[in-house]
Subunit: 104 residues, 2 copies
DNA sequence: TCCGATACCTCGCCTCACGAGGTATGGTGC
DNA sequence: GCACCATACCTCGTGAGGCGAGGTATCGGA
């Protein structure tokens, strides 16, 4: 699978991964991998910058924790993040249906 | 809908548009727009370079025609293009299912 | 005669996924 | 004790590609 197919969809995936409970970056990567049944094996160089972007845009908020001596940056969705996720889900539906219609 | 979501999927769309009958660039744009129910209104600056890429890669082949005084470059799928389309369809299925699983 | 649709093109910008490289800790096996 | 892997964070540079802007030309209708 080419790399570029992800472009523009990553934010939605990360937001969705954080929807029901906060997580730190590394855990988000694992969560996405597990939930996608091993399809999305996202490198850190992809996910960390994405999280910084999302925080810069106010869609997530981070807090440093120290779980068993390890520093972790735990992210949670903000209100704006929840709304953005809802929008992205709709956009995905629209996009997906359109692609489906063309490819069919 | 953000522009980048298309990235990596455009080739599949263009190939699919050419699957059953050849068309020139402008017609491809209209075909995609119609088939996607007005979702994909692709600018020429997107489609023409894509067609050149596809031809460079041997997935389509073009031929100049002159229909009623207007020059047109008509594209058709090559054998390799048909095979590439089949692969892209499978990749889309995989990608789409994975996104669905994460967003659900 | 003007204008919009048709029909082609290129150039440069911008975004963003990712590979590579770096740092540091905890646990397991030898 | 030490190597090694997983965990956990980061940044920088590269490259791909969609698109806006701008250019050319023809045809048909108001």
């Amino acid at each position: 699978m080419k790399a570029e197919v992800l472009k523009g969809h990553l934010d939605a995936l990360v937001l969705a991964a954080l929807e029901h409970e906060p997580a730190h970056g590394y855990a988000i990567i694992q969560r996405l991998r597990r939930r996608s049944d091993d399809i999305f094996r996202l490198p850190e160089g992809t996910v960390y910058p994405a999280l910084h972007r999302l925080e810069r845009d106010g869609l997530v908020k981070s807090r440093w924790t120290a779980a068993s001596g390890r520093r972790r940056r735990v992210y949670r969705l903000t209100r704006a993040g929840e709304e953005a996720l809802a929008v992205r889900r709709l956009e995905w539906r629209t996009f997906s249906r359109a692609v489906e219609a063309v490819l069919a």
